[in-house]
């Protein structure tokens, strides 16, 4: 009884901020207040028509897409190497790959900013993508490593004995069996990158800034519920994305297949 109450309180505590934001987004007045004074969609209209958000949304798509595209192969290779090869410094490399989780975002951001300024790279997305790759990599490595550790090395030997050279073994056996891990990695990469703020703030300009940075800039300047509306859209989009991905890629089926082995 008390256990259930605690769980209910915990769930309430966790979802409360989201609920507040969603409710506040329908507030007709120009001030972020709670509870709302009525119901209105005017801030949604504002959010969807504000030009800087359009630009930032496109930037977000570019940065998130590119960083996932770069991080996935690198992270997969790193995960396979960590799991398979008898590296002498396995602990060291594992720590290096996971270090972005521990190092404060401010430090990483500042570092990238100094480098970018030194090489004059702030005009385009390159530094943003590089920073996101670094931040996303620990999640990719972790996800793929779990799948890789479950992969029976005898399967690859079996494929070899049947005449498959290493590249074919990778394509026909290793890669298909890593699919659950790769999918999880992609999901993590997209979520982490799409929500990244601290490091991005350092290396963005008004032209390259991604959505979370644009939202922050907006909220610094204006206090109307546009931000709440945009956040609500963001949350809805994320949910829809995960749901669709699950449906299309049949995540549950892939995962079940892994259990059977």
């Amino acid at each position: 009884m008390i256990g259930r109450l605690v769980v209910a309180l915990l769930v309430g505590f966790m979802t409360l901020p989201t609920v507040v934001v969603v409710v506040a987004s329908f507030n007709p007045t120009a001030i972020l207040s709670f509870p709302p004074a009525g119901l209105s969609l005017r801030w949604y209209e504002n959010a969807l028509t504000y030009p800087q958000f359009h630009r930032a949304a496109v930037n977000s798509l570019i940065v998130t897409g590119a960083s996932a595209l770069v991080a996935l192969p690198i992270g997969t290779a790193a995960a396979l190497a960590l799991v398979r090869r008898p590296l002498r410094a396995r602990g060291f490399w594992s720590a290096v790959l996971l270090s972005p989780l521990i190092i404060p975002g401010v430090a990483v951001g500042l570092g990238f900013l100094i480098l970018a300024a030194r090489f004059g790279l702030l005009a385009n997305h390159v530094v943003l993508v590089a920073a996101h790759v670094v931040l996303v990599l620990p999640f990719v490595v972790r996800s793929v490593a779990v799948s890789a550790a479950n992969l029976d090395p005898q399967l690859e030997r079996a494929a070899q004995s049947l005449g498959a050279r290493p590249r074919r073994v990778f394509r026909r056996v290793t890669l298909p069996l890593l699919r659950p891990g790769l999918f999880a990695a992609l999901l993590f990469a997209v979520i982490v990158s799409a929500n990244e703020f601290v490091v991005s703030l350092f290396v963005s300009t008004r032209v390259t800034e991604i959505l979370p940075v644009a939202m922050f800039t907006y909220v610094v300047n204006y206090t109307d519920p546009t931000m709440a509306a945009l956040s609500t859209l963001f949350i809805a989009a994320t949910f829809a994305g995960v749901f669709l991905a699950d449906r299309v890629l049949r995540l549950s089926r892939i995962l079940r297949l892994d259990d059977h082995r």
Partner: protein
């Protein structure tokens, strides 16, 4: 029939860290035979198989297939069929796709693949399950599927790594017989790794008994059982008793403890010579009657169709005997033992 050597291993050495897995191993496998590598775990039998398959690169020595040195050739170019202990069926492919894997790698056409897969599945009697995933098959069926996948590419040699170890006993015995049938029908040269002496004796044309990275004895099942070359072989194959003795004349020896027995060995003994003798438990006669040696039961293990009895002779010598129909015995019971002269084997 002229015996043609298909697989030849010459002076193979392989170490893992400080462990010498293979210590200068020589072995020739003859066309069409089923040769077992038999030994305890860690004796190097699986490593030997992996060296032949090309999964493990030896530090020294050569691997020849049909006389051609393939030591440096990678596994995917050796054209051998391998069945793994865990079967290693691809979980993301159906049974038919598993069997077709090697054919696709060889660039076979679609119609060739369909035909060959159907033939291979028929050979192992798995026609009905072609579209199922490996996880949906029983252990025995997975085993057959793995065999079909290995055989469908018409490998030069079939390598089997403890293929029956994961099956329960009843199924294992069925599969053992079936494996032999298939091997004979296909006529394929086969190397079979096992730690189970019954499997090795029952299946093989020849058995290589391995210990500590080398072959202790290579011979027919009858040879290794009836004429073990070393104490290790005698002990590993069939629970037997090894006795150190001193020859008194050409056919009488004194076993430690002052027990004198008559032996009938293929050669006359030289008085004073030290010999090492072996007696199989099924050749030790126990019971009551005149002329039997006085002994005492020290342990009994009832095994259904026979009973294993450990006895200690009054001279202190301990022996293992198996008895078909034993009266209920218990430790401490007095019992008579006869050691027939022709039951003794000499170990080199």
């Amino acid at each position: 029939m002229t015996a043609k050597t298909v697989v030849a291993l010459e002076g193979i050495e392989k170490t893992y860290g400080s462990l010498r897995a293979l210590a200068g191993l020589d072995l020739g496998v003859i066309e069409g035979e089923l040769l077992s590598l038999l030994g305890p775990s860690g004796c190097g039998k699986t490593t030997t198989l992996n060296v032949v398959a090309g999964f493990v690169q030896p530090e020294r020595g050569r691997v020849r297939i049909d006389g051609v040195d393939v030591t440096a050739r990678p596994a995917w170019q050796r054209g051998l069929g391998v069945v793994f202990q865990s079967y290693a069926l691809f979980p993301h492919l159906t049974v038919a796709e598993n069997v077709a894997f090697g054919l696709r790698e060889r660039g076979a056409t679609k119609s060739e693949i369909i035909e060959s897969v159907a033939d291979a599945l028929a050979l192992v009697r798995l026609e009905g399950v072609a579209t199922l995933r490996p996880a949906q098959l029983s252990g025995g069926m997975q085993q057959r599927a793995a065999l079909a996948r290995a055989l469908v590419i018409h490998p030069r040699v079939l390598l089997l790594d403890e293929p029956l170890a994961a099956l329960d006993r009843k199924l294992r015995e069925e599969m053992r017989a079936e494996l032999k049938e298939i091997q004979r029908a296909v006529g394929i040269t086969t190397i079979f790794v096992t730690h189970d002496q019954h499997e090795a004796l029952g299946l093989s044309d020849r058995v290589a008994v391995m210990n500590a990275g080398r072959i202790e004895q290579l011979g027919t099942p009858r040879e290794v059982y009836e004429r073990p070359a070393t104490p290790f072989v005698a002990d590993f194959i069939g629970a037997s008793t090894v006795l150190d003795a001193c020859a008194l004349d050409a056919s009488v020896v004194e076993i430690s403890g002052g027990l004198r027995v008559e032996v009938r060995l293929p050669r006359p003994l030289v008085p004073g010579e030290r010999v090492r003798l072996l007696i199989r438990p099924e050749r030790v006669e126990v019971g009551e009657g005149a002329g039997m040696l006085a002994a005492r039961v020290i342990g009994v293990m009832y095994l259904g169709d026979h009973t294993e009895v450990r006895v200690e002779l009054s001279s202190g010598v301990r022996l293992l005997a198996t008895v078909r129909a034993a009266p209920p015995l218990g430790p401490g019971d007095p019992i008579g033992v006869r050691l027939p002269a022709d039951a003794f084997l000499e170990i080199a």
